[in-house]
Assembly symmetry: C2
Homo-oligomer: 498 residues x 2
């Protein structure tokens, strides 16, 4: 192999990245297009491709090149592409080096088989159908954590896969503050409000929902040239390569898919906005899941559940679903989609109770990895905590422990990033407003370009040049801080003095 | 790596196969789902994944294991899985060993970029938009043939990729016989028949076409559990893994997609019927493209253009498109879909003139690889030969040299297998009829199971255990022979004595 050490490193990283992106497509296709008969072959393909990606990434040559490039890194500006690339790659390399490619492959295979089992299990509310796969996945995750020196808390190692460098203790602290403030706030709201949202549940033609969702997305920045929107049982976003952003959503017998679609757009636009010159390097990726969720929650909630947004869009929605909504005025609709009410399904939860769904999962995940909770006891533990935190009785596992696909996909440690994302979203939002001034007027006429461009320039473009914490501090000027988010919730949702 | 030499070989082959299947999905997705903005990243991913597949397959360890396994091969029955696996793998390995993985990757990248350019070029009838990619591809194919010792004819090496072990001279001989018999036959038919097929061209709602196509496919053996049917500009079949058969078709403003769909089903059912225990080995694949095409042409023509088939299906088609077909009776429809008439588009051609489209391409391909024809002169050469062989004037490149995606995908040497497939299809068909007796009555009631199962047991199940010629001889009892096909065409299409 010829070229400078930097060129040689880039070629290696491009290989590893291409293999990872092939795995990304294998995953997307499994969730969205693959006939069920392909599940076994797909699990093997995912295992093999992921194993090769890992092998290529932790190759000794990558280590040697990273050593050779210390000089370049030190002589380059900290913010430069070169220094950022070497720094970020070294951190990821040193971590990846500890994990045998075979284990990476086994985890990926088990995740694919878990996902294949999850669909039917959820549909039939049969936890037992998924239990063996979940047990395998928890065992594999235990083998994974054993690859590392014992941290303060075992869960730190899971969390680090989604939120690099963050510790469980920090999350616990943020969540304690959320819980302390939110539990009384939720009580307060429930006492003061009796909002009718019955018109949100009924027959909403999926093809019309899709048309409406695309109208919103196009105003946000979606284009057919670089994006797709598909239907799938559990919405997600993924990107099999630069210029190829895939949103998925789940059109059901209510209008919740509109919010799920805006949520996934937030993920998509973050990836879309990363500096294209980073393509095929470790920098061409959102920096962490919490920062990612800050953007999905921004577009879903700060934009999509705002009064100004619905001032623009409600007449169009009403026109599309005139039978269902003709007698519902804008204010009634706005209040309905912001109704605070403890409920069963995380992705449909209001902005306030949402965080309790996350805290519950965060706690159960710790118990699972620490061995304090057996997989077989998970449904019972779930239901008990739903009762305790949200006061709701879980009628079946479909609407309980089986509702999310994350655990079936082996993603233990992912959930806390959603609530952290809520917190970060408002920190970033407040900075954007300082620069842009009030956005309501622009939203009211369907103009989201200024917001998108501000976010792109200040956040998206950075990709993974810096650590998550550095990134948050560069954009917001401060560390992660729940206060702006709590202020926002109180201002938006608390009963106003008459 | 532990295990017996056979187990170790199987593990290596499974890796290479998984990587190839990932490339298969990357290709399918590019053609069917990918937003155009993803083209560049996709070309890189395809190049990298294909390069790794090749590297894994030609690894020294594979060579050592094949040597170690000579004993097992010789002591096992020729027909056994073990002997067939070692034999087939060794043949493929010795060929692959000559081709540097970098060249494999470059070819794949160029093919992906060629395909990305082909769509818009075809749409706009702008050969110039595709020319640079075609030039690159022809150059790369020349570099490819230089990896091998000089054969009798350079084209032999291209042909061998699709039709292993067959020589250009053999193809030429078969084609000479086809030309000798077909040119007068076509003249004879044209003089004797004036068939009205105008009702085939009009507005046929694509969604209804899809429903109708699926009804046919389900009767043939398609199930949602293991198959998909998608729309794409140029129909093809591919399988990203066992139990996952992907058909594509192109619903247009006529009913031709029904035949294209049955064609792709023939490819699909061949792959579907291979012994599942061969999965992730080189045996789990149709043995050659000519044998593959024999099956696509069987289901498209021998079944799909037969009187018995339409006796079953025409009433249903008529019901689905009553406005267009209510005044057309079954016989008129049957004659229309079998009308012999020189025309512009290969995939829509009748059974007799079809072969002239292939002979034209076969000749142009030889001229291209031998350097006797420059890419820039291709449209002119195409148009001249269309005039000469079929007597039709090509109005634009969309309906001329740009109609097929094969060359844009770097597939030089593929086309002859279509006409060879026609020939082989009737050889196999005659053997099936000997065992099954007349099938018309079964087709007339929509029963295709006996035929499918006969083909599965006698042909599909074999996968790549034997060479193409061995396979053909095992199924038909003879070498490739154009006579049965020519007899069939004459019997079916020639004007009958009054």
């Amino acid at each position: 192999m010829t070229g400078s050490p930097l060129e040689r490193l880039l070629a290696r990283l491009a290989d590893a990245n291409d293999l990872s992106k092939a795995a990304t497509l294998l995953f997307w296709d499994q969730r969205v297009k693959m006939p069920p008969g392909g599940a076994e072959a797909r699990a093997e393909a995912l295992a093999t491709v992921s194993r090769f990606a890992q092998e290529r990434f932790i190759d000794d040559e990558v280590g040697r090149l990273l050593e050779e490039l210390r000089g370049l890194e030190e002589s380059s500006d900290y913010d430069s592409f070169e220094a950022s690339l070497v720094r970020t790659t070294r951190r990821q390399y040193e971590k990846a080096l500890r994990v045998p490619p075979e284990l990476v492959g086994e985890l990926r295979r088990a995740a694919a088989l878990g996902l294949a089992a999850w669909g039917p299990a959820k549909e039939q509310s049969e936890f037992e159908q998924l239990r063996p796969q979940l047990e395998t996945l928890v065992d594999l995750r235990r083998r994974y954590v054993e690859c590392f020196p014992q941290p303060d808390e075992t869960y730190d190692l899971l969390l680090d896969d989604y939120e690099p460098l963050m510790k469980t203790a920090e999350v616990r602290e943020v969540f304690a503050e959320l819980k302390r403030e939110l539990v009384p706030l939720i009580d307060e709201i429930r006492d003061g409000a009796d909002v009718d949202d019955s018109f949100l549940y009924g027959e909403f033609d999926p093809a019309t929902q899709r048309r409406v969702a695309l109208e919103i997305l196009r105003a946000f920045g979606y284009s057919d040239d670089e994006w797709r929107l598909d239907d799938t049982p559990h919405p997600f976003m993924t990107t099999p390569g630069a210029g190829d952003i895939r949103l998925t959503t789940n059109f059901r017998n209510d209008l919740s898919a509109l919010f799920a679609t805006m949520h996934e757009f937030g993920h998509g636009v973050y990836e879309w906005g990363i500096d294209r010159s980073f393509a095929r390097t470790p920098l061409h990726s959102g920096v962490s899941l919490a920062v990612h969720e800050s953007q999905s929650r921004t577009w879903e909630n700060l934009v999509g559940r705002s009064r100004a947004f619905w001032r623009w869009f409600y007449p169009r929605l009403q026109e599309a679903f005139s039978a269902q909504l003709e007698s519902v005025d804008e204010e009634a609709y706005y209040r309905a989609v912001n109704k605070v009410q403890p409920s069963l399904i995380r992705i449909d939860a209001d902005e306030a109770t949402y965080n309790l769904h996350i805290i519950l999962r965060f706690e159960l995940e710790q118990d699972l990895i620490d061995g304090e909770l057996a997989v077989v006891d998970l449904p019972e533990a779930w239901n008990a905590r739903m009762e305790e935190y949200l006061g709701v009785a879980v009628p079946d596992d479909t609407r309980g422990v089986l509702q999310d696909m994350h655990w079936a996909a082996g993603s233990l440690g992912y959930f806390p990033t959603y609530a952290l994302g809520n917190v970060i979203s408002v920190q970033i939002w407040e900075r954007a407003l300082e620069d842009l001034g009030d956005l309501d007027e622009r939203f009211e006429r369907g103009d989201f370009g200024d917001l998108r461009e501000w976010l792109r320039e200040h956040l998206y473009v950075l990709g993974s040049k810096f650590t998550p914490q550095e990134t948050i501090e560069r954009v917001t000027g401060s560390r992660i801080d729940a206060k702006p988010y709590l202020r926002y919730l109180r201002r938006k949702l608390a009963p106003q003095p008459a």
